[in-house]
């Protein structure tokens, strides 16, 4: 037996764990339920299940150990620095988790009579108030479930508004080449065609090229601001004016709102609609990929088309509007029930904790941290653009030229150093992109350690250690995984 293997296959705290379907023994229980008595076949509609499900039977200790071991194979913000650009992986306050579990908020049914849920409606109403105050926008659709869902909500409102004003022939949406993939995918879902617009050398939208693309068939511009290169669109007010001048609407992807909360009101930029990722800016947990929430603020022109439901104040307190009301033309409903309520509670807890002063300090610190990374790494990596960045710093792979090391290799080497990699190969407009978003919840000490590691790796790459990089990561529960094999021979479930 070599030094690196063990009889068990385990490596200290890294414990191999089988699938649940490979464990258990029939008859074991982890939930003690009362005896249901004989089944009343009269009420079964003749479709009582004939075969047993092959779900394994396990006891509670086995189940708890299984998921605990799985959790130990994951990296989270709680584990360490997570500079994943465009994802805003900031600390998730535990107070938010605590208040979200208060029975008076968690144990509520969405269709309870409104006199029994005034406090829940107040949570939605208060959060909506804050989102409107922070953006300066007059209305917000609270129900979208995620960022992409909020984009869809915003574009549906735009389409509905154009249809309503006899402008339904507008079917083209302008999207910068640097946009996140959800933007064009969303536009397509609303029946729009997508027309890419180029960027200038400084990473911003080319205003002249945009103007040339505007026309009577253009429905909207979808623009991320700060953009996916981590830059503020400095000509945004002129952009908005040009878009409006052509009779189109301006959709802003608010994924990067964390950079500007309390420092810019998006209403002052001429935006008609913008989604806000509560799971980014307002710090609700990402949960390994959701649930999120994507409330979408709307201008006065789009507000009448907001989807149902929404909360209004009536003579008997707060009420939910679930149908069409006088003077409104909701474009429909985007999901079941009343939005991601559990996420709202957490986001509001964060907002109340931070306050106006704390939110402004957070965006300031987020931008400061990113610029600090850019300044301290700028001489060993290759920043893509000159000048200050916003909340994330973008580098390209010129610094790896002729080293034989790719952006991917570099990211995998960071894993062995105990870090979650930065976002790689996005945005697409930069070659071999490395997008680092430190967020405001990292200390200077944590940044300094990371900087030292990245500098060390960059120097090592330049010194000619490609083989080492290609072999990374070495210390993870699994090393590089064969994604081609996974796609060519898909195994998407366990089979006996």
């Amino acid at each position: 037996m070599s030094e690196t293997t063990s009889f068990s296959g385990n490596k200290g705290l890294q414990i191999e764990e089988k699938l649940i379907f490979e464990m258990g023994n029939p008859g074991a229980v982890a939930v003690d339920l009362p005896e249901p008595g004989p089944v009343d076949l009269d009420r079964m509609g003749g479709v009582r299940k004939r075969a047993d499900l092959a779900l394994p039977d396990l006891s509670e200790p086995q189940v708890v150990r299984h998921y605990t071991r799985l959790s130990q194979k994951n990296y989270g913000i709680d584990t360490g620095f997570y500079p994943l650009g465009s994802c805003t992986m900031k600390h998730n306050p535990r107070l938010s988790e605590k208040v979200a579990r208060l029975p008076g908020l968690a144990d509520l049914h969405p269709f309870q009579p409104r006199q029994t849920v005034q406090g829940a409606l107040e949570v939605i109403d208060q959060l909506a108030w804050w989102l409107k105050q922070l953006t300066g926008m007059p209305a917000v659709a609270m129900s979208p479930a995620a960022g992409a869902h909020g984009e869809w909500c915003g574009l549906m409102a735009i389409r509905a508004a154009h249809e309503d004003s006899g402008q339904g022939h507008r079917r083209r949406v302008l999207v910068p080449e640097s946009a996140h993939g959800t933007n064009p995918a969303t536009a397509a879902m609303c029946g729009y065609s997508v027309d890419p617009i180029p960027a200038k050398e400084n990473g911003r939208v080319d205003l002249d090229a945009l103007k040339a693309k505007l026309g009577p068939d253009v429905a909207a511009l979808m623009l991320t601001n700060p953009n996916t290169c981590g830059l503020f669109e400095s000509e945004i007010i002129e952009i908005a004016a040009a878009v409006h001048g052509a009779g189109a609407y301006f959709y802003c992807d608010g994924a990067n709102f964390n950079a500007i909360v309390g420092r810019v009101k998006v209403a002052d930029l001429g935006i008609d609609a913008m989604h806000i990722n509560l799971h980014k800016t307002f710090s609700t947990p990402h949960g390994g990929g959701g649930p999120g929430a994507g409330p979408t603020v709307l201008s006065a022109a789009l507000a009448p088309f907001a989807p149902v439901p929404y909360v209004v104040s009536g003579p008997d307190g707060l009420e939910l509007v679930e149908g069409r009301r006088e003077g409104t033309k909701p474009f429909g409903r985007v999901k079941g029930f009343h939005g991601q309520f559990g996420v709202f509670v957490r986001a509001l807890a964060y907002i109340l904790s931070m306050g106006a002063d704390g939110l402004r300090q957070a965006s300031s610190d987020a931008v400061l941290n990113a610029n600090y990374l850019q300044a301290r790494l700028g001489d060993v990596l290759t920043p893509s653009f000159d000048g200050p960045c916003m909340h994330e710093a973008l580098f390209d792979d010129r610094f790896l030229k002729d080293t034989g090391v790719t952006t991917l290799d570099f990211a995998k080497a960071l894993i062995d150093e105990g870090y979650h990699p930065m976002t790689m190969y996005f945005p697409l407009v930069v070659h071999g992109a490395l997008l680092m978003e430190p967020t405001e919840t990292e200390s200077k000490e944590a940044l300094d350690q990371f900087i030292a590691v990245v500098r060390g790796l960059a120097e090592k790459a330049k010194a000619g250690a490609a083989e080492d990089f290609k072999a990374a990561p070495r210390h993870t529960p699994r090393r590089r995984l064969d994604e081609t094999l996974a796609a060519r021979t898909p195994i998407l479930r366990w089979k006996a």
């Binding site: 968690a106 144990d107 300044a375 995984l481």
Partner: protein, 450 residues
């Protein structure tokens, strides 16, 4: 501020390293006209104690389900969630991780998703399931869109058994597209003629089982006709614990099964977040929306998991993607999976039998209420009742709230323009309901309806 680690001296040192005078200098690309010079005139930061107090006050204004005999369903169900579920969800490595794009540091999430996909495929009787959608309603809409993509047809027939929120969400999703939703009227008695509405343009029929009004149907005849005409059968399951008791939609011939997973692992949370389950046949997998975890090997030949078949998805395909979905409901999927693992095959079946037994018991007790009729003749843990021709169910619900009882969901909330549904109340019973709860409901109904 407790979430911000930088001190003033840190900030000063960092600004010096960057070579700017102050943080404002970093915002120089913001047009001057749009820069805010100071914090907005809104409430300032607060300590944990103050924030907790604010939420305790708001929570106190609500009547939580645990404080009342509770019989509400209609798409969100109250079940007992084993304590281990939430304790495990709160592990930071699950709670604070991102989507598992870096598989070497995400094997926990990926293996859990692979197990989740397997469980969903098993309970729905399908071959393959994805890593989840936002909720049942959006999963239903995505299923309709996928059916149009698969069949290259444009018409989506929505049964009157379908939850009105699923209908509305699907109609909205098809608005402004080449596809067309054809919703049928609400169908409390299970009498609708779906077969007569099918034609060569029909991409799919979407039915809910158990139906919104509680009824169970054998879907085999419908599946046979759909397939004969080249349409897909989409089956929506609003209450997934029912799959422990009835033939699975897959066994009855469904082509796509979508479900709201909230019943397992999650509380009600005023209706959100939910969990969209999405399962189909292997042959349609490349037309599926959403993330998929798949098995593979690492460079040492060890089994592991990655996100796969992403050429369907927006980050690769952009405007040609199968959906714009990016984030799903990862943590809710984990909750569902942990709960189902705790139940096991034996527990899942027993839980379903228990729910059905509670509903049968409730029906028997309600039969003592004069003028009340149970509408469906088969059901799982929920059924619609007719309270009497002149009775308005919504008013009865309000009067029962005054007696501290959350009696059910009036159909008029969804169908305000259907006077014949005004007396209809949808009631659910789960393992949470005691006999005493039922007796209190019956007594209160007798008093209110007399």
């Amino acid at each position: 501020m407790r979430y911000l680690p930088l001190t003033e001296s840190d900030r000063a040192a960092m600004l010096a390293d960057i070579g700017v005078k102050d943080v404002d200098a970093l915002f120089r690309d913001v047009p001057a006209a749009a820069r805010l010079a100071e914090a907005l005139p809104l409430p300032r930061h607060q300590g944990e104690l103050e924030v907790e107090r604010a939420f305790t006050r708001m929570a106190g204004k609500n009547l939580s389900a645990g404080c009342a005999p509770f019989f509400m369903g209609a798409g969100v169900y109250r079940h007992h969630i084993p304590a281990a579920v939430d304790q495990l969800l709160l592990r930071g490595e699950f709670l604070t991780a991102y989507t598992p794009y870096q598989p070497e540091v995400s094997q926990g999430t990926l293996q859990a998703l692979f197990e989740f996909q397997t469980q969903v495929a098993m309970v729905t009787g399908m071959e393959v399931a994805n890593a989840s959608m936002y909720d049942g309603a959006t999963a239903c809409a995505e299923a309709a869109i996928m059916a149009c993509r698969v069949t290259k047809r444009r018409k989506v027939l929505l049964s009157g058994s379908l939850h009105p929120h699923y209908v509305e969400t699907t109609e909205t999703s098809l608005r402004f597209t080449e596809m067309e939703a054809e919703p049928l009227p609400p169908d409390p008695l299970g009498l609708e003629d779906l077969l007569g509405r099918l034609d060569g343009d029909t991409a799919c029929v979407v039915v809910q089982n158990p139906g919104f009004f509680g009824g169970i149907r054998d879907l085999r005849p419908l599946a046979a006709i759909c397939h004969e005409l080249g349409a897909l059968l989409v089956v929506m399951v609003a209450e997934p614990t029912s799959l422990g008791l009835f033939d699975s939609p897959g066994a009855m011939g469904a082509d796509i099964v979508v479900a709201e997973g909230q019943s397992l692992g999650m509380g009600m949370n005023f209706g959100g977040p939910g969990l969209g389950l999405f399962a189909t046949r292997d042959k349609f997998v490349r037309q599926m929306p959403g993330r998929l975890a798949g098995q593979t090997l690492d460079v040492d030949g060890k089994r592991g998991w990655v996100l796969t078949l992403s050429t369907r998805e927006q980050h690769i395909r952009r405007e040609k993607a199968t959906s714009n979905i990016c984030t799903n409901s990862g943590l809710c999927a984990l909750a569902f999976s942990i709960h189902l693992t705790l139940l096991g095959g034996t527990g899942f079946t027993r839980l379903a039998e228990l729910n059905h037994a509670k509903a049968v018991q409730l029906e028997q007790k309600l039969s003592q209420v004069k003028g009340l009729r149970v509408l469906p003749d088969s059901y799982y843990n929920e059924f619609a009742v007719h309270l009497g021709d002149e009775v308005k169910a919504a008013e009865v619900v309000d009067r029962l709230v005054d007696k501290g009882i959350l009696a059910g969901v009036p159909a008029s909330r969804f169908y305000p323009t259907w006077p014949e549904l005004a007396p209809v109340l949808i009631v659910a019973a789960t393992e949470m309901n005691t006999e005493d709860d039922m007796d209190r409901l019956v007594a209160a109904l007798k008093e209110t309806l007399s």
